[in-house]
Symmetry: C2
Subunit: 330 residues, 2 copies
């Protein structure tokens, strides 16, 4: 009997240890404060069985913007640097680019001049640099680029400029039965090749903008060819559309950092039951960048007002985050 | 000591029991034969760690067509009956339908007459019956309909006319770490409301045809409005396109029943490593329906030839399946 009791005690101890381990701080890179507490309170509410706020595991869907929410988007979104590098790489095959805008300016390193071509010029650059190959070829191009391309200011790999506190939120949610999705204006095929390794998010949980693709048999081998035609723009009102199309279920939590995420947060917040909406506010010029209402490309203006009215969590990178980027590799 | 040893024995016994339970026939509704064996051999190969055929869990993606692969698609695909019922329901709001084809013929119960309007007429009916509402309204319409609509020949609910042997394949794959996806020409929002309950497949793992949707704030409430415009046709070459868009990873197993699934099987089979492609062949007029090369709507013609050349599994419903539909409810 005694040893059976001992086994029972060992079992209880093991369970207790697990409980303690779980009760450890799930967000160690966050400073104690309202923002951190709001994340934890939400997760505890929806996972407490028997509580009126309880949400069954299959409905625990959380969506995250990428640029500016999970990794640095300044001075320019990372995908823009990818496009610029691609223009330089492809230039020898396009002699006309030497005199054709916005390519000519890009090749001279004159970004301001390139910007003069406006949105139409940007789309032209994106199509020229993101289409015309197969999905497998494009995947390899992205993987090769992201493995070595470095941030112009810090000299770090872009994948090292992800936000440590947000990696902790992703892990914390998953440990509590959430499925985490990316919902980004970025190109879906630009993100998938590295997100599984960097964020733990598999390709099927990445929603983004896309070009059209076409199925073909090439010498009997099936391929998908990337066409120079926009298929979907996963930004602003496109985010709830993309969520509905890919996920088919309204998230119960959404994380963004700009007005491009506002509709996603509105859509998430308007569902029945307990919901959680969070904005990352870039107010840390010392450790990252400071921008909000005045920033053309990544403006957080309407979002700040609506967050105040609706009680959404607004994270101050400066005050709420103990560290911003993951510790340097030794 | 003795009781500790007893505990150890109990533990070993528990583990052994689990192993035996797992080793039990995972496909009890299948007759022993090459088809059944091919499924089991494939799963054992890719899940055996250390084997050259081993596939890590995140890459274990299996895609299933729906109509004719997981449930009965005769005399007509279920969604057609849904559209016909919707025409009758909506007719009072559309007095012009009394004289306008193909609506007039549908309202008279003259399906042949309706067919005369061809594909254009079909699209018109689909748009009139599937769009114009919000995604939430449409979901409710589908849920209400599928809960009571009955097959014209058997009088069973459509959701009772799913194939028991295929339900076993779905469960068997999932028990072995696979993620199972639907990839169907059917409407994505027609399938999602009931597939989680019937197949155990959550909305985010359903790929299908779709209409465009638009984000709107109605009295401050965010809604997605279904527009009468085709967004995506998830059939034939559209299936690999849809797979790439939603899943972003090439499946290692694909299941279909018609030439509309051929490109999905080609795409799946052409990947590197061990792959599995299976066609359900409808050759059982007594228990279900018999159709293949001659059937306009759901023809299996090129697929049969290619399956023979490539060694894909072709399931004879008549010979390989011990039962077709789940046992009647008592």
């Amino acid at each position: 009997m005694r040893t059976t009791r001992n086994s029972a005690i060992a079992l209880v101890a093991a369970v207790a240890f697990t409980t303690i381990a779980r009760a450890q701080d799930p967000l160690p890179s966050w400073n104690d404060g309202l923002a951190k507490q709001s994340v934890i309170t939400f997760v505890e509410k929806v996972t407490k069985s028997g509580s009126p706020d309880f949400v069954p595991v299959p409905e625990r869907i959380a969506t995250f913007d990428n640029d500016g929410t999970l990794w640095c988007e300044k001075p320019l979104p990372v995908q823009v640097y990818f496009a610029l590098d691609r223009v330089k790489e492809l230039a020898p095959q396009h002699p006309d680019w030497q005199t054709k805008e916005p390519f000519a300016s890009i090749l001279k390193g004159d970004l301001k001049g390139a910007m003069a071509a406006g949105e139409r010029g940007l789309v032209e650059v994106l199509m020229a640099t993101h289409a015309g190959n197969t999905t497998e070829e494009f995947e390899k191009i992205v993987k090769d680029w992201i493995a070595t391309a470095k941030h112009p200011k810090t000299g770090k790999l872009y994948t090292e400029m992800v936000y440590q506190p947000m990696l902790e939120v992703l892990a914390y949610l998953r440990a509590n039965g959430f499925k985490t999705f990316i919902v980004s204006g970025g190109g879906i095929e630009f993100m998938r090749p590295w997100m599984e390794k960097v964020y733990g998010i598999p390709p099927e949980q990445v929603v983004g903008s896309s070009v059209k693709t076409k199925f073909e048999l090439r010498d009997g081998q099936p391929v998908l060819v990337r066409l120079p035609e926009v298929n979907f723009n996963d930004d602003k009102g496109g985010k709830p559309v993309g969520i509905n199309q890919h996920i088919g279920r309204r998230p119960i939590a959404a994380f963004g950092n700009s007005d491009g995420d506002l509709q996603m947060l509105q859509y998430t917040g308007a569902g029945s039951g307990t919901r959680f909406c969070l904005y990352v506010h870039h107010d840390d010029a010392a450790r990252e960048y400071a921008y909000d209402r005045e920033d053309g490309l990544a403006k957080l203006d309407k979002g700040l007002d609506e967050a105040a009215v609706k009680g959404w969590t607004v994270v101050s990178m400066k005050n709420d985050w103990q560290t911003v980027f993951p510790a340097e590799r030794k």
